[in-house]
C-alpha cells in the first residue's frame, strides 16, 4: 500500500524512503516519521487493542502520553513490548507487531469481553470467584492470568549494552519547546553551564506541530536557529532523545538518553541507552502540556484522536489521518486543527464546538453549542453523531475526528516530591503547586502559560532570575515576537447522553459508568477511585485520563475538582527499560571479582574456585584421577595432618592499628584484653556488637610498642573497619590511634602440619625453632634471602602452623617457592573445603556459627568476655535472655552409625520425640566429612548442649527426609589437648 494519506509539508525527508513492516505487512515511510505517523500515512488507523475489553484502537496522541497504539517492536532477543508507536522513530527495516490480541489484530477472539462488558464492570472480580475456595488457583486465576498483560517479553537475554553517567550543571532545562529554548538561550549566552534535554528526536516541542510564527519565520525554523546558536556554546549541552524521568533530592535528576533506539541495532561497542544522573544547581521544567479528550459514547474508535495530535500529524509529518476530518472542541485551541487542515487542503466536514455563541470560523461548517454523542465504525471511524444546539441529532460521515477538552500542563516532575498541584479555573487545569523539588520551577505551558509569547517570556525571565541567583550577569536580549492568543475554554468533561460507554482511561477501559459505580459504592476518595477502577494505572499513568476522572467524580459528589484532589505522579515520567537502570552491572559484571595472590598459580593447577563475597578462593585442587571432590578434599586433609599443607589466607581482613593508645583502643573493641599482650606475640580476639552478640573474631598481633595488626574474618573486613572508625572518632575522639587497611598489601599463606617448620625453614631467613619462635609468636622477618615479610605462628587447623606474608606482588612467586620447597615433604596446597574440615575437627567457629545471633556463651567462649573492663558489648551481654542456663551451646555431633551422612541445618530432636517445635533442640550449623574420624561430623547449637555431652539424640532433616541417630560430643574432635599446634 502506498502512503495514501501523505499530504504536503512536514519535517520529513521525502527524498529518502524507509521500509518497515507491521504485523508482517510491508510499508514505506520517511526519515523523521514515527511508526505511528508512517502507518497513518499508509492509511493504517488500527494499531492496538485495549487491555480489558480488547477494543480496536488507533493512536489517541502523537506523543509519549499515548495509551492505545502500543506495539511489540523488533523481534527475537530484542523484542520490546508496549512500545508507543507515537514515539518510536522510524528506521529502515523496522519490524513491529500488534499485541494483546488473538489470532489477529482485526479479528480478536478476546473482544468477547467487549460483548460481556456489562458483567465486567469496575471491581466485579472482588465480588465473585470465591466459591469454591480451591477454584481460585485452579480455575479462575489461570484464566485471568492467560488474559493478563499487554505485550510479551522475550525469554532471551537482552543482547544490547547500557551505559550510565553523571552530568553536572548550573541549570537543567527539561524540554526544548519555545520556553525551554528561550531559557537555554538566555542562560547559555550568559555563560552558565546548561543542560537542555528533550524527549523528542527533534528540538522545538509544539513549534514543530504548529503553524505559529516567531519573528516572522515558522516556529520550527526559529527553533532550528536557536538550536544552531546553542550548539556553538561550549557551556551548553544539548541532549536530544533524552527524557528526564525523575526528580530526586538536592537537585539530582535521572534522565534516559536513547542512544541507539533509532537504529536497527546499536553501533559496535555503543550502548542502546544511557542513564544520566544529572546534578543541577537549578532546574527549569519546560515540558509543555498534554491535551485531554472529552468523553462521549464510543469515543475510542481508531481515527478519533486529540485535536492537537491530528494537527501535529498534518503539520509535522505531512499526514492527514482521514480523507474527511471533523473536530470536537470546548476551546479555541481545538479550532486551530480545522483551520490548519483546511489550509492544507484536507476536507474538514465539521467543527463541533460545545460552546454556545461566539464567532464562527470562516469557510468551515462550525457548529456552536453542539456535541458529539456517538460514533460508528468497528475497526475505524466511519461517522459521528452530533447533537446540534437545537437538540436535533445529525450523523456526519468522517474518518478522522480531532477532540480537544483542553490542555493539562506536564507538571509530573514537579510532583515527584509529592507536592500537590494547584487548580487554575481560567485554564481548567492543574499547574505545579508549592513544595516541589527545591530549585525547580516550571515555565511555559508546563506552568499554564499557553501562548507562544507567554512561553518565551516566562522562559527568559525565569532564566534571568536563576542567573542572578547564581551570581551570573546576563544581558537581556529582546524577546522575539510571537502569537499571544488568550485561552478560551468552557470545561466539558463528558457528554451526558445515552446508556453507552464513554471512555476516560482508554488503555484500562475505564468509562464514565465505572466512575459512577465507584461513587455509588462509596469509593469516592480519589485514591479509592483510582484503586477500585484502575483509572490512571495504565502505561500512560493517566496523563490523558486522570483529570477527567476527577472531574466526573467531583460532579457526582458535588465537590470542586481541587476538593476532590489529585493523585500524586510518581517517577518515572515515562516508563524506563530495566536494562538502562542496571547499566553494566549484569552477568559476570554484576559485581567486581577479587583475585587472591595465588589465583594465577591455582588456575594453572586446575583449581576449583568458590565465590566468597567478591573473592574467588580456591575451593579444592583436584589431582589427576580424582573424579569426586571428596577424594581431593580427603587427600588434602590427610596430607596436611600427616605432613604439611599450604593455604592462601590473604582474604582475611588485615587492619594496621598504631598509636600510643592502640592497646587501650583494642581493650575497648575486643571483649578480652590486649593491652597486656607482649610485643612479638599475638592473641585470639573476640569482638562483640554493642548488643552483646558476637560480631567478629580473629587474631591480633603486637608488632611493636604502639603497633598492632588485627585480622578479621573475610566477610566482616569492611564492617569491622567501619566499626573501629566509629569507636575511634565518635566514642573516644582523643585516643591516639591511627587505622589503615592492609588486607591487599600482603599475600599471606598458612603453612600447617607436622612438617610446617621444616618447610618454612627453607624459606624464612631466621631461626623459627619452638624456642626462638614459640606458639602465638609474631613478628617482622625476611624470606628468600632478604625479602621483607611477616610471620605469625597461629593455627586454625590445630596443626603446628605458621602464617607467612610477603608484599602481594611476590605472592605468586612465594606459593611456587613453597610448593617447590614442600615437595620433599609431599606438601599439598589446600582450599576452603579442607580449611573447613580441619577447623570443624578442632571445633573452631566460623561464618555458620558467627551468624549475628549468637553470644560468646553460645560458642563456649563466655569466659573470654572480661567483666573487669568496659568494652563494646560487655554490658548488654549480661542480659538474662543471653545467659539462660538452658540456652544454645556449641557441641560436636557424630553419627552413631559411621556410614550415616549428616546435613547442616538438620534439627536436634530427642530420640522418640515428636517432630514439633516444642521438642526442637537446636540445629547443626556446619557439617563435614572427617577422614580422621571416618565419618561425617558436625558442629551444632544445642539447647543446654554443655550438659548433653555423650547423650544420643537425632539429627532430623525433613527436607531430604533423613533422621539420623547421633552422639553429642565435645566440639574438639581432633587433638583436644592441642599438643600438635605447640609441637
Amino acid at each position: 500500500m502506498s502512503q495514501i494519506n501523505r499530504i504536503a509539508g512536514g519535517q520529513i525527508e521525502r527524498s529518502k524512503t524507509l521500509n518497515f513492516t507491521f504485523d508482517g505487512k510491508s510499508y514505506t515511510g520517511h526519515p523523521g516519521d514515527t511508526l505511528a505517523s508512517a502507518l497513518l500515512a499508509n492509511g493504517v488507523r488500527l494499531m492496538g487493542r485495549s487491555f480489558k475489553y480488547h477494543r480496536p484502537r488507533g493512536p489517541l496522541s502523537a506523543g509519549s502520553e499515548e495509551p492505545n497504539a502500543l506495539v511489540e517492536l523488533r523481534s527475537g532477543a530484542r523484542q520490546e513490548p508496549n512500545t508507543r508507536a507515537t514515539v518510536a522513530e522510524l528506521f529502515d527495516g523496522l519490524e513491529a507487531k500488534s499485541q494483546n490480541r488473538w489470532p489477529s489484530l482485526a479479528f480478536d477472539m478476546m473482544s468477547i469481553n467487549d460483548r460481556l462488558s456489562g458483567f465486567l464492570a469496575a471491581g466485579f472480580y472482588y465480588k465473585t470467584f470465591m466459591w469454591p475456595a480451591a477454584f481460585w488457583e485452579k480455575v479462575y486465576e489461570p484464566i485471568i492470568r492467560r488474559a493478563a498483560g499487554l505485550g510479551s517479553m522475550s525469554t532471551l537475554e537482552d543482547p544490547d549494552s547500557y551505559d550510565k553517567g553523571f552530568l553536572h550543571c548550573d541549570l537543567l532545562i527539561i524540554g526544548a519547546g519555545p520556553s525551554g529554548l528561550m531559557a537555554a538561550l538566555t542562560a547559555g549566552r550568559a555563560g552558565a553551564r546548561v543542560v537542555l534535554a528533550d524527549e523528542d528526536f527533534r528540538f522545538g516541542g509544539r513549534l514543530n506541530a504548529e503553524t505559529h510564527e516567531i519573528s516572522d519565520m515558522s516556529g520550527a525554523d526559529w527553533a532550528s536557529e536557536a538550536v544552531a546558536e546553542l550548539s556553538t556554546l561550549p557551556n551548553v549541552r544539548l541532549m536530544m532523545r533524552t527524557t528526564v524521568v525523575g526528580a530526586f533530592d538536592h537537585g539530582i535528576y535521572s534522565a534516559v538518553e536513547r542512544v541507539s533506539d533509532h537504529l536497527a541495532v546499536p553501533l559496535p561497542g555503543k550502548p542502546r541507552q544511557t542513564l544520566w544522573r544529572i546534578y543541577s544547581k537549578h532546574a527549569i521544567l519546560a515540558a509543555g502540556a498534554t491535551e485531554r479528550p472529552v468523553a462521549f459514547e464510543n469515543n475510542d474508535r481508531p481515527g478519533i484522536m486529540m485535536a492537537g495530535s491530528l494537527r501535529a500529524y498534518a503539520n509535522r509529518w505531512g499526514v492527514s489521518v482521514g480523507d474527511r476530518v471533523a473536530v470536537f472542541s470546548n476551546n479555541d485551541d481545538g479550532l486551530r486543527t480545522a483551520v490548519d487542515l483546511q489550509a492544507k487542503g484536507v476536507d474538514v466536514v465539521a467543527v463541533v464546538d460545545s460552546r454556545e455563541g461566539g464567532a464562527l470560523l470562516p469557510g468551515i461548517r462550525h457548529l456552536r453549542g453542539a456535541q458529539v454523542i456517538d460514533s460508528e465504525g468497528r475497526l475505524g471511524l466511519k461517522a459521528i453523531t452530533v447533537r446540534l444546539a437545537n437538540g436535533k441529532t445529525e450523523t456526519i460521515q468522517t474518518t478522522a475526528l480531532g477532540v480537544s477538552g483542553g490542555w493539562n500542563p506536564n507538571l509530573n516532575i514537579s510532583s515527584h516530591h509529592r507536592s500537590k498541584p494547584h487548580w487554575r479555573e481560567d485554564i481548567a487545569a492543574f499547574v505545579p503547586g508549592e513544595g516541589g523539588p527545591v530549585n525547580l520551577s516550571a515555565v511555559g505551558a508546563a506552568n499554564g502559560a499557553m501562548s507562544t509569547h507567554a512561553a518565551l517570556t516566562s522562559g527568559q525571565s525565569r532564566a534571568l532570575d536563576i542567573l542572578s541567583a547564581l551570581g551570573v550577569t546576563a544581558k537581556t536580549t529582546a524577546l522575539p515576537k510571537a502569537e499571544d492568543a488568550p485561552i478560551s475554554i468552557r470545561p466539558l468533561w463528558y457528554v451526558n447522553h445515552g446508556k453507552g460507554r464513554a471512555w476516560i482511561d482508554q488503555q484500562n477501559d475505564v468509562t464514565v459508568k465505572d466512575v459512577k459505580l465507584a461513587h455509588q459504592e462509596n469509593f469516592t476518595s480519589v485514591e479509592h477511585l483510582k484503586r477500585y477502577t484502575t483509572l490512571g494505572m495504565a502505561t500512560d499513568q493517566g496523563k490523558t485520563s486522570n483529570v477527567i476522572g476527577l472531574a466526573v467524580m467531583a460532579e457526582l459528589t458535588g465537590r470542586s475538582i481541587p476538593e476532590t484532589g489529585t493523585t500524586v505522579y510518581r517517577p518515572p515520567y515515562t516508563p524506563v527499560a530495566m536494562g538502562t537502570l542496571a547499566g553494566r552491572s549484569r552477568g559476570k559484571e554484576f559485581k567486581p571479582f577479587r583475585h587472591t595472590p595465588s589465583h594465577k598459580w591455582a588456575e594453572e593447577q586446575g583449581a576449583v574456585f568458590v565465590e566468597v563475597g567478591m573473592w574467588l578462593r580456591t575451593q579444592w585442587l583436584p589431582r589427576a584421577g580424582e573424579t569426586h571432590w571428596r577424594q581431593s578434599v580427603d587427600r588434602e586433609v590427610l596430607a596436611t595432618r600427616k605432613s604439611v599443607g599450604i593455604c592462601d589466607v590473604t582474604t582475611l581482613g588485615k587492619i594496621d592499628i598504631q598509636g600510643t593508645d592502640a592497646g587501650a583502643f583494642l581493650d575497648k573493641v575486643y571483649a578480652n584484653t590486649f593491652s597486656t599482650l607482649a610485643i612479638g606475640k599475638c592473641r585470639y580476639g573476640l569482638m562483640l556488637r554493642e548488643d552483646g552478640i558476637v560480631f567478629d573474631d580473629g587474631t591480633t598481633a603486637r608488632m611493636g610498642e604502639h603497633e598492632y595488626v588485627m585480622t578479621t574474618t573475610t566477610a566482616n573486613a569492611v564492617s569491622v573497619f567501619r566499626h573501629l572508625e566509629f569507636v575511634r572518632q565518635c566514642l573516644y575522639p582523643d585516643m591516639d590511634v591511627q587505622l589503615i587497611s592492609t588486607t591487599e598489601a600482603w599475600a599471606q599463606y598458612s603453612v600447617a602440619g607436622p612438617n610446617a617448620r621444616k618447610l618454612l625453614e627453607k624459606i624464612v631467613d631466621q631461626d623459627i625453632s619452638d624456642v626462638a619462635f614459640p606458639y602465638m609468636g609474631a613478628g617482622n622477618t625476611t624470606v628468600c634471602g632478604g625479602l621483607r615479610a611477616r610471620l605469625f605462628r597461629i593455627s586454625f587447623s590445630g596443626e603446628l602452623a605458621f602464617e607467612i606474608a610477603v608484599p602481594t606482588r611476590y605472592g605468586d612467586a612465594l606459593i611456587r617457592r613453597l610448593v617447590e620447597a614442600g615437595q620433599e615433604f609431599d606438601a599439598v596446597v589446600y582450599g576452603t573445603e579442607t580449611l573447613g574440615v580441619m577447623r570443624i575437627e578442632k571445633g573452631h567457629v566460623a561464618g555458620n556459627e558467627l551468624n549475628g545471633q549468637s553470644t560468646a556463651l553460645n560458642m563456649g567462649l563466655g569466659k573470654m568476655v572480661s567483666k573487669k573492663k568496659d568494652s563494646i558489648g560487655m554490658p548488654l551481654s549480661q542480659r538474662e535472655g543471653l545467659n539462660d542456663l538452658d540456652g544454645y551451646r556449641l557441641v560436636g555431633v557424630k553419627p552413631v552409625d559411621k556410614d550415616q551422612p549428616l546435613n547442616a541445618g538438620s534439627h536436634f530432636l530427642e530420640i522418640g520425640a515428636a517432630p514439633v517445635a516444642e521438642n526442637d533442640g537446636g540445629w547443626l550449623t556446619s557439617m563435614v566429612y572427617s577422614p580422621h574420624i571416618g565419618s561425617h561430623i558436625a558442629l551444632g547449637y544445642l539447647k543446654a548442649g554443655d550438659q548433653k555431652i555423650g547423650k544420643h539424640m537425632r539429627a532430623v532433616n525433613f527436607l531430604n527426609k533423613t533422621d539420623v541417630e547421633i552422639e553429642i560430643v565435645s566440639p574438639h574432635f581432633f587433638d583436644p589437648e592441642g599438643e600438635r599446634l605447640r609441637g
Binding site: 523484542q79 477500585y532 542496571a582 559476570k588
Partner: protein, 416 residues
C-alpha cells in the same frame, strides 16, 4: 449485602443499580469501648476480629486519611510464613492459615493466590541456613521444600544459569506462599467491620491522648475529643509520632522502602522469587505487571519517596537474575514509611499506660501479617493477654535480651 457470581450477573442485567456503599461514613460518637487508631490493614483487621471473633461492640476505627491508605495500600503483596525463629514462625504460619480462609470469611475476593515463594540459594552457607530454616518451618507445621538447581531451572529456564556472577545452586520454597490483591484486603476487612457495626471514621487524625494517673480516657482528634475505654494504636510508619503524644519513645525508626511495578506483560513469572545474591525480589501480578523491590533506602524518612541509588541497585539485581527483562520497562516507583524495629520483628503489647495498647514495628513485613496481627491485637485488647502465637512480641524483650533478630543484624534498623 452478600457478594457472589450470581449477584454480579443479576446486577449486570439490571444496570448495576443495586450495589450498596461498601461502608458507611458515620459521624463519630462521643464514646466507644474500643478505639483503634489507624485505618490501614492492621487497624481494620483488628476491628473486624474484635467484632466478629471476640464479640465486642462499640468499636471505632479512626483514620487520618482514607481507609486502606496505610502500607496495605502500597506494598509488594507477598504472603508467606518462611521465618527462621521460634518467636516469629508460629505467628506468621497462623497468619497464612487465616489468609487461606479469608475470602470466604469476609465474603470479598482479595485474590489470595498461593502460587509459591522461592528463596534462591547461591552458596553452601546459604543452603545450610535455608535448611535450618526449612526444618524449623516444618517443625512449626508450615510447609517447606528444598529445590535443586535443575528443579529451579525447570520452573524458570530464563533465569541466569549460564553467565551468573553468583550461580544459582538451588532454592528454598514454600508452595503455600504467594500474593494477595492488597487494596482488596483493606476493603474486605472494612466492609466486614462496617456490616458488624464498627464505625469507620475517615479524615480523622488523632492529635493527642487524654491520660490521667497512668490511665487513658480517650483521644483528641481533628474531629473532636472521643472517649474510649481502650485505645489500640496500629499506625505502622507513624508509630513514633502517634505514641509520642502519649510520651513514649519506641525501639523503632521510620525508614522509606521503595517498591516498583513494570508495564503490563504477558505472564512469565508464576510465583514469588527472591534473589539470594542481590537485593531483589519479584512476582507478577494478575494484571501482568512485574511487582518488585529490594532494600530500604537506609536513612530515617517520612517523605514517602526514595532516591535513585536504590532504584539502580534493585534493577541491577533484577538484570543479574533475569537478563531477559532488559527491555521490559519500569512503570512506577513509590515509597512507603516502614516502622523499622531494633531487631526486625514487630511489637504487639500493652504499654505502661493502662488501656493503651500498641501494634507496630512491622518493618517491611507487615502486609503478610495483616490477618494474624489483627486477630492477635484484638485478642490482646479483648482479653488483656497476648495470643499464644504473639507472646514474644513484647516491649521488654530488648531489656531482657530476648531479641527476635531474623537477620542477625543487631540494633541497626536499616539493616533488617
Amino acid at each position: 449485602m452478600r457478594y457472589s457470581g450470581f449477584r454480579v450477573i443479576a446486577e449486570a442485567l439490571s444496570g448495576h443499580k443495586g450495589w450498596k456503599p461498601v461502608w458507611r461514613d458515620p459521624v463519630p460518637q462521643a464514646e466507644y469501648d474500643y478505639i483503634i487508631v489507624g485505618g490501614g490493614g492492621h487497624g481494620l483487621a483488628t476491628a473486624y476480629y474484635l467484632a466478629k471473633e471476640f464479640g465486642q461492640a462499640r468499636i471505632a476505627v479512626l483514620e487520618k486519611g482514607y481507609l486502606g491508605g496505610g502500607n496495605v495500600g502500597r506494598n509488594t503483596t507477598i504472603i508467606r510464613s518462611n521465618y527462621l525463629l521460634d518467636g516469629n514462625e508460629p505467628f506468621y504460619e497462623f497468619s497464612l492459615k487465616l489468609w487461606e480462609g479469608l475470602e470466604q470469611d469476609f465474603n470479598y475476593n482479595a485474590m489470595v493466590s498461593q502460587r509459591g515463594i522461592m528463596n534462591l540459594i547461591h552458596t553452601d552457607a546459604q543452603r545450610d541456613a535455608f535448611t535450618r530454616r526449612g526444618n524449623g518451618m516444618i517443625l512449626h507445621g508450615a510447609d517447606a521444600e528444598l529445590l535443586t538447581r535443575d528443579q529451579v531451572k525447570a520452573m524458570y529456564p530464563f533465569l541466569n544459569f549460564d553467565n551468573a556472577r553468583f550461580p544459582i545452586k538451588g532454592a528454598l520454597t514454600q508452595k503455600r506462599g504467594g500474593t494477595v490483591r492488597h487494596d482488596a484486603v483493606a476493603w474486605g476487612y472494612a466492609r466486614g467491620a462496617d456490616t458488624r457495626g464498627v464505625d469507620l471514621i475517615q479524615n480523622c487524625e488523632v492529635t493527642g491522648f487524654k491520660i490521667e494517673n497512668g490511665k487513658v480516657f480517650g483521644v483528641e482528634t481533628t474531629r473532636g475529643y472521643i472517649r474510649a475505654k481502650k485505645v489500640g494504636v496500629a499506625v505502622a510508619g507513624s508509630s513514633s509520632k502517634v505514641m509520642a503524644h502519649a510520651g513514649l519513645r519506641l525501639p523503632i525508626e521510620s525508614h522509606v522502602l521503595q517498591a516498583f511495578v513494570s508495564e503490563g506483560l504477558k505472564p512469565l513469572i508464576n510465583g514469588v522469587m527472591t534473589f539470594g545474591a542481590g537485593h531483589f525480589y519479584v512476582s507478577q501480578s494478575d494484571k501482568g505487571g512485574l511487582v518488585f523491590g529490594g532494600d530500604i533506602d537506609g536513612y530515617n524518612s517520612y517523605a514517602q519517596r526514595g532516591n535513585l541509588p536504590v532504584i539502580e541497585d534493585v534493577a541491577e539485581g533484577g538484570m543479574a537474575l533475569m537478563p531477559m527483562i532488559g527491555r521490559a520497562r519500569l512503570l512506577r516507583t513509590w515509597g512507603g514509611i516502614m516502622d523499622m524495629s531494633m531487631d526486625g520483628s514487630p511489637i504487639i503489647d500493652k504499654t505502661h499506660i493502662d488501656g493503651l495498647y500498641f501494634n507496630g514495628g512491622w518493618c517491611y513485613g507487615g502486609f503478610k501479617a495483616t490477618p494474624a496481627s489483627g486477630w492477635c491485637f484484638a485478642h490482646l485488647l479483648a482479653k488483656d493477654e497476648p495470643h499464644k502465637t504473639a507472646t514474644a512480641y513484647r516491649f521488654d524483650r530488648f531489656l531482657k535480651g530476648r531479641m527476635i533478630d531474623e537477620k542477625g543484624m543487631g540494633a541497626t534498623p536499616n539493616l533488617h
